[in-house]
Symmetry: C3
Subunit: 670 residues, 3 copies
C-alpha cells in the first residue's frame, strides 16, 4: 500500500499539557486559521501518562483528544516512550545508559535509556499497548508515531551480555569470531565469550579492531530496533490497520535506517538543515528518506516554521523560505508537511525553537501568516498523495560502509562518507536529474546510471548486484577507496578494488592521501563525455593501472603524473567508470552531465541556474515541481508541453517565469 | 561606615613560611625600602596552623606577627581556609567535591572542598574562631580576609540532599516545582523530591531545564556564602570592630557577588587583566566591584607587580604600567593598593608570578624600584580614603541574568553577557563619563542615564524599579533579547520585551542571529542625538515594531530592511531607548555621547584620546584622576578651574600635559 | 662491544600467525626476492603463546622458526609481552591501568598494563624466560626484542603505594619531602606518607606542585624499566651472549631513554616522521638515539616502506624516498634497516600501514621493487657495521629538563623543549656539521662546541661538567630560561641563570614572553662571528645585564631596546655564549656557521643546498654519506680527496653530482 492518507496533512507536534486549559481553546482557533488538520501528540508525556509504576492516567489526554476531534483535526498518536519518567530512572538505575566512557549516566536527558534494559522494554511496550487499547476506536488517529528520534547507544554490562549472545548467534564458535575480527592482531585472541567487551573508550575504543566496532554498531541498531518492534507488536494487536512510523533523522549515523524502514509502514523524518546548508544536501536527505522504502512517499514529520534553537546560529527562515522548502520536501516525495511545533514552549531548552504560534500567542506574526498561507494552499495537492518521484539515476548509500569507512585508521582523516555522497548528488542536482538514494542491495534494473561513491565495504551480494546491472546495460560509477573490505572490514586479497576489479578493468596499487593544502589535476584524454582540458582534484589519489579499462583522464602532478585517474570499462552491455580521486565541483557537474547526456536522462526542459526540478507521477497524471531558490526571478522553458499549475490553476507552456522563491506545481495536460 | 582605614595601605600577600627565617629579616628591610605598610597573612597555611585533627599550632605565626609589628607594618589577617589540610581530605574524603562529570576528586588543588560538607564547615569556622580568639588583641590587624577566591562547585550526594531542602523551602510543593521548571517539557515531571538531581553533565546537564541550572547556581552561591558566614560569625565574637572581607574576582560567574557584598564590610578584589585586555574592560570591573556596595570604596587586594604565570602569554608590565594601573584602581574607588605577592615563591605553580621581591632576592630590580617609587607616593593620597566616585550614569549588571542568558539554547552561541556590558561601558569610558555598574534592584534615582544591556531576565521588581526611574525623568537604554524571561527562565506571554514592552513602546516579533561573517547596518533617521548616516551592526537583529516609540534608526539590509532598530519612547518625564542590535564601536561612542550631551553629563573638560578621567569626592574636596594610557604625551584642558596635584604639589589650570603613562591626582582649589 | 652483527640486517616485523600457512611459503619466496635476512617475531602473540594461565604453546612458533631458518633468515626474537592476553585482564583486572582521570581501563588496547602489577610482571618475565629456555639453541636468534614500544603510565592504588615507597627511599623523612616539593605552597604540607597521591587529573594534576609530577615521571620511568629488567634477567639466564634491546621511539616524552640505554646492549628505534617533518628533525632523532649510548651504532628497528596509517594524512613515500631515508638512518649510525612490517595485515587498525608485501600479495608493486633494490644494495655496506659517526659538536638533551620545562606554569604556553632543540640542531644540519645529541652528564671533552638549548633545570653535576669543559677550551652555547631550577624544580636563589651565571657572565633580571603575533629584533654589535645587521626573534626575550660578558647583539624594540640579547663570556680557555631570545632560522644558520668556523669544524667539502652529509669511521676506513634531498640534481665538491662509492664501486674526486634523491657512500682511498 502506497497511499496512506486521504488528505494532505498539515500540522505537527502539539504539547498542550505544557499550558493551562484556556490556551487549548485558543490553539483550536489558531489551528483552524492556519489550516492545520493534524497534530502529533503526546510525544514526551510518559511521566504524565504513568505517574507511578502501577498507575496510568489517560484522562487528561482524553480531554485533548475530544477537543481536537471536535475541531475536525486528525491525530498522529505518539507512544511517548522516548523519555522514561524520573521515578523509573530512580527506582531502576539500570534503565539509564552507560556512556562510551564507561560512565552510568543519570536521569536528565531524553532518549536516555539502555535499549537492552528489560525494565525499559517492559514498560515502554506496555504503555504503547495500553494507549492502543484505550484509543483504538478513535477514528481521528491516522498514524502511529513510536518513540521519538531513536538513537541511544549504551555500553553497560547488560548490553555486553546481550552483545555476546548476538555474537554467538552470528559466529557460532569462538574460533570464527577470532578469525572474523582478526583478533590475532595485537594479540587480542579470546578464548571465552566473556572476554569480549563492547568497544567503549575505556576498552580499546573503536579502531583497534574495527570489526568489533562494526558488529557493535549492528548489534546496537538491532537492540534499538527491537524496542520499536516491541511497541509495534502491542499496537498492532489493537489497531491492525493504522500505519505505524517513527520519526527518522536523515543522515543519522548510529542507526541503519534501511533496516528500520522494513519495519515501518511509512517513513517519516525530521528535516533540520543548518541555515547555510547547500540546497542539494537537503534534497539528498529527502532522496535518501524516500529511498529507504524504494521510492514510497514519506511524511515530513518535523521541520521548523522559522528558526531552530540548537544550532550555533539559529537564523530565521526568510519570508518565502518555509514555503519553498516545504514544497521541496513534497517535490522529493513528502505527502505531509508538519512542524515541530504548534506552539513555542515557554520553558526548557527548546523554548527558542520556532513554532506556528509564537510566545506572544496570537496570529499576527509573519511566521503565522506564512504558515496560514501554506495551509490554505496545500489541500490543492490532494491528488498527488502517494505519487512516485521518477528517477533514472541512483546513488548507493550504505550505513555499514559509512561506519567502516570512518572507523578506518588511514589513509586520511578528512575522508568522510556523506560529503562524498553529496559530491555526486549535487552534480545530478545541478543538472536537474532526479536521483534515488538507495541501498546497494536494491533492484538496480530501473536505473540508467548508478553511482557508488567510496564503496569501501562491498558486502555479500553487492558486487553481484552491480555486475548484473552493468551487464544488462547499466552505467555504473564508483570512486577511489572502493572495493577494499568485506563486511568484517577484512581487506580483499584480490587487489583493490577487490570484487569490483574485473568490472572496472583496473587495479589500484596504492592510495595517496593529500594534505588539505595540496591538490592534483585531472588532464582529460579523448572521451565521448564532452570533457576536455584540466580539472582540479584533492583529498585522495588512487594510483591505478588499467587492466582493460579505457583511460579518460590522467593525473597532472606528483610521481604518478600521467597515470590514469578516470577510466571506463565496457562490461557486458554496460559501462563501469572509476573516478580515482575527488574532483572539483566543476568537473563533477560536467562529468555527470556527460554521463546523463549519453544515457539521455537530462530533463527535456531548460532552466535558469538556481531552479530545482523534479517530477512525481501517479494514476492521475504527471506533476512537475519547479522551485526557484534564487533571490531574484528565474525562468524555465517548458517547450511545447502544456501544464496547469495546481496552486493557481494558471496554464503554462513555453517559457515560465517564477518570482524569487517561487513555486510551480505543474500538472501535464497535453 | 565608609572609611575603614587611616592609612593608604600598600603591601600584599606575604608567605614567609615558605622561606627560612633569615629571609624574614631581609623581607622587613625590603618592605621598608618599598613603603609597604600592610601584609596579608597567612593565606594558605591551614595545614601548618592545624597539623592534625586535635592540634593547633599558632607559634610560628606569632613569631611572624611579632616581627611584622616590630617593623610597624599592619596586618590583613587571612583565615587560611581556602585549602584544607591533606590529612583532612584523606580522613574525610567527602570534604573533596564531586565535579560536574560526577567524579569525586581527591586532594591536590585549592578551593577544593564541598561547600556543604559539614566536616569542612566545622573545621573552617573553628579555625577562624581560634585565630580570632588568639589574635584579638593585636592592634596591627586592620581587616579580616576570609578564605581566598571562593568558588567551589560540587555535585555530590550531600549537595543533592541540601539542594532538595533548599527547593522545598523555595517551592513548598512538588507541583510548584514542576511548574516553575516547566518539567512537563520532555516529560521530566517529578513526583518526589528525591527525583530531583543536580544538573551535572551526567544528569542531563544544564540546558535541558535551564530553570534547574539557575536554581542550582543560586543554591551553590548560597552554600558557599554560608561557609563564609560561618567563619564571619566566629570572628565577630572576638573582634566585633575589625572589618571583614574576602577577595572577589571581578566578573567571576559562579558566585553572585551582589549577594556576597551584603555580607562583607568592605569589598576587596583581585585584578588580573590579560596583557591585551582593553583598558575600559579593566575599568568596568573596578566599577562593578565598587557598585557591589553602591559606591563604597574598596580594597585592591591583589594585582601583580610585573607578570602573571597562568595566562597563555605572561607579558611583563612595561615600566610605568604598574603605577598607572594602580592609580586607575584608585580612580575607580580603591582605597588600598596591594599585590600578590611580596616575595616570589621558589617552588610550586605560581613561582613565575610577579612579586615585589624577585627570586634573586635583592632590591636592585626594575620591578622593585617601580614598587618603591609608588610606595613613596601613596601616602600623599591619605585624604582621599573613603571618598566616593561620582557617577551620573549606571549600567545594570545581574549575575542571574548572566547565567540565564548563557544557558539559553539559541539564538546564537556568540551571544555572551560580559562583552555586551563592555560594549556599553566602553562607550561611556571613551566619552570619559563615569559609570556605576550596579544591580537592577538598586536605587536608580541618582542617575541621569541607566543602561541594561541584554536584560534577558527581568526579575520581580526590576521592571517596576526601572519604570519608576524613567517616569521621574530618567533616561533608560536597553537592547535586543531583553525582557524575555522571568526568574525561572520562563518566557513572557506578553510579547517581547515582556514587562518592558509598554516602557519601550515597541514589540519585538522575531530575533534573528547573524553568522559571524554577516552584518547589517543602522540607517539613522531624524533624531536629536546628533547621529546621521549609517553604522554597522552584527550578532543579533531583533525585528521590532513601534507601538508608540519614535524610530531613530532602521535596518539597512535583510528582509527587515527599513524596519526599526533604534527607538526611543517617551515615558512619564523620561525616555526609554531600545537598541535592537549590536552596533559597532563607532555607533556606540556617538550614541552614548549624544545621550550624555542631552543629559548634560559629559565632563566639562576636554581630553586627548587615550586619557582616562574620573572624579572622587569627600568632605575634604573633589579629586580628579587623570590617567594617560598613551605611549606618548597627551593633554587635558582644565578650563578655568584650578587644581593642585596631590602627587607633586604642582598647581594646574588650563591645559595640562601628561607624559606617557603619566598620572595627575588633582584636588580642586577654586 | 660495539659490533653486534656480521651482516647488514634487512627485514622487519613478521606476523605470519595472522595468515594461513600457504601464505607463509609465499612469504619466504618474496623475502628472498627482496633480500630480507632477518625477521622480528612474534611481537604481539602472548595470547597464542600462553592460551591460559597454566598452558604454554610454542609449537606454532617452532614451525615458523623452522621455516624461516630453512630459508636462511635470521631472527630478532620478541618476548611478545606488550599486550597481555584477554583472559589475564579479565581474571586480574588490576593488570589494566588506571588512567590520568582516575578511571580503571579495560582490555582492548596495547601497552595497556599497570607497570607495577605483580601479576603482569610475574607472567611477562615468566614468558620471557620460557621463550629463552625453549629457543636458546637456535643459532638464528641474533637479538632479543623485549616488549614493544614501552610506555604505560598508571595512577592506580598499587602505583600510589609503590610511589610512596620510592619517595621514602629518596627523601628518608616526611620533612625532606615537604621541603623538596615546597608543599607549604597552597598549604599542602603532608604529615604522613599516605597523604601523598599520584598527580592524576583528579588529584590536583601535574602543575600545582611540579616537583611531585617530576618525581612521578621518574618513578614511572623506573617502574616501566623494571618490567624490562625482569624480562632481561630471565633471558640472560639462558642466552647470556645474545644482545638485548627494546624498540624506542625517538623523542618520546614519558620515558627517560638515557636511563634505559644503560640497560640495553644495543639501542633500537622506530622512526615514523610525519610526511612533512623537516629532514633535520628526522636527523636529530637519529642523533639522539645514537647519543643514548654515547655514539654506539644502533638498529633502525622499524620504519614504513611506504605510508603510515595513524597520521592525519598518510602520504605515500615518493619513489626513492624510502631508500634515501634508509641511508640517512645509516649515515647517522644505524647498522640495520628494518620495517614495520613484512606483510600488511588484512584486519585491525594497522591494516593500511605500509609493508614490504601489499594486500594484493605479489611482488609487482612499486614498493616491493624499491625494497628489493635496497635489499640488493645493503650487503655492500657490511664493512661499515659498528663504525662510529664523527661529531665535533654536541647538543645536550635531558628528559627531566623536558618535563620540568613543559610543566612550568608560565612564562609562555608556546615554549616547548623539542622545537628549541631542533632550532639549534637544524642550524648545524644546514651547515653540514654533524652533531651528537647527548646527556648533560656525559663526557664533553671530545667536542669543540656544546649547545644546551633552554637548560631550564640544571641538575647536580651538570654546571660543573659544563664549566670544566669550557675551562679547558670548549665553546658552550645556552639560551633564555636556562639555569632557573634545580632537579626539584626549585628556583635558584642566585639570580638567573643560577649555577651558570658566572660561566656566562650575565644576569637575567626578567623574562618577557611575546604574543605569537609579536616579534623583536637582534641588532648585531661588533663580533668575530661574521654577523651584522638585524635579525628577527620571537617567543621569549630575557632581559639581561652583562656581568663581564661581551655584548654581541642587542634588542631592537620594546622597553629593553638596546639591552643585550647575545653575549659571549671568556671562561678559562673557552667561551660561553648566551642567546637571550629565540632567533629566526636566518640568524641561527649564520650564528652556528660563525661558531663552527671559529672552531674550525665546518666540513672541508662544499655542498649544494639540500645535500646532507655525515661521516662514519672504523678500523677499515672513513665513510662519507652524501644524501641529496632535493627533487633535482645537486653537487658536492670533494676537493682533491679520492673516494670509491661502496654502492656502485665508482671512484669520485672533485665535483660529484647526485641525481634527485641520490646517495653516495664514499670510502676514502687517499
Amino acid at each position: 500500500m502506497d497511499k496512506f492518507f486521504d488528505k494532505f496533512y498539515y500540522g505537527g507536534d502539539y504539547n498542550p499539557n505544557q499550558f493551562p486549559k484556556e490556551i487549548w481553546y485558543e490553539d483550536m482557533r489558531l489551528f483552524k486559521l492556519a489550516g492545520v488538520n493534524i497534530v502529533t501528540l503526546p510525544v514526551f508525556s510518559w511521566a504524565s501518562l504513568q505517574p507511578s509504576e502501577n498507575e496510568y492516567d489517560f484522562s487528561w489526554l482524553d480531554e485533548i483528544f475530544d477537543l481536537v476531534e471536535q475541531n475536525g483535526i486528525d491525530i498522529c498518536l505518539a507512544t511517548s516512550t522516548a523519555a522514561q519518567p524520573a521515578w523509573m530512572s530512580k527506582r531502576y538505575p539500570e534503565v539509564c545508559p552507560v556512556d562510551e566512557n564507561g560512565v552510568r549516566v543519570k536521569h536528565g536527558w531524553r532518549v536516555n535509556f539502555c535499549p537492552n534494559s528489560e525494565v525499559y522494554r517492559h514498560f515502554a511496550s506496555k504503555l504503547a499497548g495500553k494507549l492502543a487499547e484505550h484509543y483504538k476506536d478513535r477514528k481521528s488517529i491516522k498514524v502511529w508515531h513510536i518513540g521519538n528520534e531513536y538513537g541511544p547507544v549504551c555500553y553497560c554490562d547488560t548490553c555486553a551480555g546481550k552483545f555476546r549472545e548476538w555474537l554467538k548467534k552470528k559466529y557460532k564458535t569462538i574460533e570464527n569470531l577470532n578469525k572474523a575480527w582478526n583478533l590475532q592482531f595485537w594479540g587480542h585472541t579470546v578464548y571465552d565469550w566473556d572476554e569480549v567487551l563492547p568497544p567503549s573508550n575505556i576498552a580499546g575504543g573503536k579502531i583497534v579492531h574495527q570489526a568489533r566496532a562494526l558488529d557493535y554498531f549492528r548489534f546496537m541498531n538491532d537492540s534499538v530496533l527491537e524496542c520499536y518492534l516491541l511497541e509495534k507488536e502491542e499496537i498492532r494487536k489493537h489497531t491492525p490497520n493504522i500505519p505505524i512510523t517513527t520519526n527518522l533523522m536523515g543522515t543519522y549515523k548510529p542507526l541503519d535506517y534501511f533496516k528500520w524502514a522494513k519495519e515501518m509502514d511509512i517513513v517519516s523524518w525530521d528535516s533540520y538543515p543548518r541555515a547555510n546548508d547547500p540546497m542539494s544536501n537537503i534534497a539528498m536527505r529527502h532522496d535518501l528518506m524516500r529511498g529507504l522504502k524504494e521510492g514510497q512517499s514519506f511524511m515530513l514529520m518535523e521541520q521548523t516554521p522559522s528558526q531552530q534553537n540548537w544550532q550555533a546560529y539559529n537564523s530565521l527562515k526568510k519570508p518565502g523560505i518555509m514555503r519553498l522548502w516545504s514544497y521541496q520536501a513534497i517535490a522529493h516525495g513528502a505527502d505531509t508537511v508538519m512542524f515541530f511545533q504548534m506552539r513555542r514552549s515557554h520553558g526548557g531548552c527548546e523554548k527558542f525553537h520556532g513554532a506556528l504560534i509564537a510566545h506572544v500567542g496570537h496570529e499576527n506574526t509573519r511566521v503565522f501568516r506564512e504558515c496560514a498561507e501554506l495551509g490554505a494552499e496545500l489541500p490543492k495537492l490532494k491528488e498527488i498523495i502517494g505519487s512516485r518521484v521518477k528517477a533514472k539515476a541512483a546513488i548507493l548509500f550504505d550505513w555499514e560502509n559509512w561506519h567502516a569507512l570512518e572507523l578506518s585508521s588511514g589513509p586520511s582523516k578528512d575522508l568522510k562518507y556523506v560529503p562524498e555522497i553529496n559530491r555526486y548528488h549535487s552534480a545530478f542536482y545541478n543538472n536537474n536529474v532526479t536521483v534515488d538514494v538507495i541501498n546497494p542491495s536494491f533492484d538496480l534494473s530501473k536505473y540508467d546510471v548508478v553511482v557508488a561513491p567510496v564503496l569501501y565495504m562491498v558486502r555479500e551480494g553487492v558486487a553481484e548486484n552491480i555486475k548484473e546491472y552493468v551487464k544488462n546495460g547499466g552505467t555504473f560509477i564508483t570512486t577511489f577507496f572502493s572495493g577494499i573490505v568485506d563486511e568484517n572490514d577484512y581487506v580483499t586479497m584480490k587487489g583493490y578494488p577487490g570484487e569490483l576489479r574485473d568490472l572496472l578493468g583496473i587495479w589500484a596499487e596504492e592510495i595517496d592521501p593529500l594534505f588539505p593544502e595540496d591538490k592534483n589535476g585531472i588532464v582529460m584524454q579523448e572521451n565521448d563525455l564532452g570533457l576536455s582540458g584540466e580539472y582540479e582534484c584533492k583529498l585522495i589519489c588512487d594510483i591505478i593501472h588499467s587492466e582493460g579499462a579505457k583511460v579518460l583522464g590522467v593525473y597532472k602532478d606528483n610521481f604518478y603524473m600521467g597515470m590514469p585517474c578516470l577510466t571506463v570499462n565496457e562490461y557486458g552491455k554496460g559501462k563501469a567508470y572509476y573516478v580515482a580521486t575527488a574532483p572539483s565541483a566543476e568537473f563533477m557537474d560536467a562529468f555527470i552531465k556527460g554521463i546523463c547526456q549519453q544515457k539521455n536522462i537530462l530533463p527535456k526542459y531548460t532552466f535558469d541556474k538556481g531552479i530545482e526540478f523534479t517530477e512525481r507521477e501517479n494514476e492521475h497524471g504527471k506533476y512537475l515541481f519547479v522551485l526557484n531558490h534564487n533571490t531574484c526571478e528565474a525562468s524555465i522553458d517548458l517547450a511545447d508541453d502544456k501544464f496547469v499549475d495546481l496552486l493557481t490553476s494558471k496554464e503554462y507552456s513555453g517559457k515560465a517565469t517564477l518570482p524569487k522563491y517561487g513555486v510551480l506545481v505543474l500538472k501535464k495536460i497535453n
